[in-house]
């Protein structure tokens, strides 16, 4: 799936990915993979886990997976299918007890809080849940203050306005976070080239940048982006090319 401002566009299923791109090559340019089930209806967690297993079969980096996690069992199923971390969104607002139980069971480092934020007409930001379908009352700062007190290991902050546009990250969404946060921040939504990734990483509040943009899959886009970032002095982990081994 590709999405633009949260409207989904079907690209192809996992077989399409395997046929059209050598994902195991692309995967060598990333530190971590995030796999989300963005189905809006008729979610089938079993099929999703089968796909996750196949993705993780030849990807050897940490994987965060989520989309529709509503119970310990949902999380456990993902963790047994190759995921190392669980991504949660709606329960951050609707079921904070679940977040606590997940952290107790699997450890705080296992929980990634995924937060979708949209600028309103008055320049304030709001958080949306349920696949971006439901606007929460109170502004984003209010919710982020609450969420930062939950036992989560990372915060994945996504700009719905920039999502899929390739126009660059909205760095202002970070202003919604409380200061003195001890949890790593992953910035998402809007990257369209390596310059955008560098802009995100240059912000001292940002620990990681995420991208799902098509440039990842075109030619050696992601490989080149990583190479440029390393050449520019961004401290990314380095691993040898497989053929050198």
């Amino acid at each position: 799936m590709l999405s633009r401002n949260f409207r989904l566009q079907r690209v192809g299923d996992f077989n399409w990915l395997k046929t059209n791109y050598v994902f195991s090559n692309i995967s060598l340019s990333i530190d971590e993979l995030i796999v989300l089930d963005v189905s809006r209806q008729n979610r089938d967690p079993y099929t999703f886990c089968e796909h996750l297993k196949r993705v993780s079969e030849d990807c050897f980096m940490p994987i965060a997976a989520g989309g529709g996690v509503r119970s310990i069992e949902d999380a456990d199923r993902l963790l047994c299918s190759g995921a190392d971390k669980i991504v949660v969104n709606s329960p951050l607002y609707s079921n904070q007890d679940l977040i606590k139980s997940l952290a107790e069971r699997f450890g705080q480092q296992c929980i990634v809080a995924s937060i979708d934020i949209k600028r309103d007409t008055g320049n304030d930001y709001h958080m949306w849940v349920e696949n971006g379908g439901r606007l929460l009352e109170n502004n984003a700062s209010f919710w982020l203050r609450k969420i930062s007190k939950l036992p989560v290991g990372e915060i994945y902050l996504n700009s719905m306005d920039r999502d899929g546009t390739g126009q660059g990250y909205d760095l202002d969404i970070i202003n919604n976070l409380p200061s003195h946060l001890h949890v790593p921040i992953i910035l998402a939504g809007g990257a369209g080239n390596s310059r955008h990734l560098a802009q995100g990483l240059a912000d001292p509040r940002v620990d990681a940048v995420a991208t799902a943009h098509l440039f990842n899959f075109v030619g050696d886009g992601l490989y080149q982006a990583r190479r440029k970032l390393i050449a520019a002095g961004v401290e990314l982990p380095i691993w040898s090319v497989w053929s050198e081994l």
Partner: protein, 208 residues
């Protein structure tokens, strides 16, 4: 092509076996999962993975007779053992996690929680890729550079001081043992199955 070496992955209900198995499959091996003490004690290459708490893991190993099986396998010089993450800690002498708990004692190391330094606070758990300094003469790190990135997720670690054998080190606050090898006992605190080609190379070396 499937290679002929046999690999036995210990299943004691803690840890994500799928990733470890996928990595060995990728390298052309057909790992075998087992919780049977007899199979474990006679394995050719034994992998002890693990994610979770030390006391519960030791209790489970003991209840299933796997602790004795692993020790038997270690005495048998034809068996190579690789402990990964919690698996490395379990091979150690003791851990302070949940009190003072005795480990398998195959590595003379003590496992303790990360020290919080006053000057420069560190994040615990230690999560993410971090640089590992390899020991000079090492089987695991053949063809890897002096410093290489590996993926870590842990709150406890084995101190490097006083360990015999070849010890790779990593710094998070203070220095700790990132990997260990001595004779037929091998261990990594990081996850080679989650460390891209650096980790695959290390697993390949273990089986070489």
């Amino acid at each position: 092509m499937t290679q002929r070496k046999t690999i036995t992955v210990v299943d004691y209900g803690m840890g994500n076996l799928w990733s470890v198995i996928s990595a060995f499959r990728f390298l052309g091996f057909s790992p075998h999962i087992s919780s049977d003490p007899i199979e474990i004690s006679t394995a050719e290459n034994l992998i002890l993975p693990g994610v979770g708490a030390f006391p519960l893991a030791m209790k489970t190993l003991r209840e299933r007779g796997i602790d004795i099986a692993i020790k038997k396998a270690a005495e048998n010089r034809n068996t190579r053992i690789l402990g990964i993450c919690l698996g490395m800690q379990l091979l150690g002498a003791t851990s302070t996690e949940g009190g003072q708990v005795i480990g398998l004692g195959l590595i003379p190391g003590v496992v303790t929680k990360f020290n919080q330094s006053k000057n420069k606070p560190i994040k615990v758990p230690h999560v993410g890729f971090n640089l590992v300094r390899r020991p000079k003469n090492s089987r695991l790190f053949v063809n890897l550079p002096d410093m290489a990135d590996f993926y870590f997720v842990h709150s406890y670690r084995m101190l490097a001081e006083g360990l015999d054998g070849h010890v790779a080190t990593c710094v998070h606050g203070d220095q700790f043992a990132a990997a260990y090898e001595n004779d037929n006992i091998f261990a990594t605190q990081f996850h080679p199955e989650k460390s891209q080609t650096n980790g695959l190379a290390l697993l390949q070396n273990f089986l070489r």
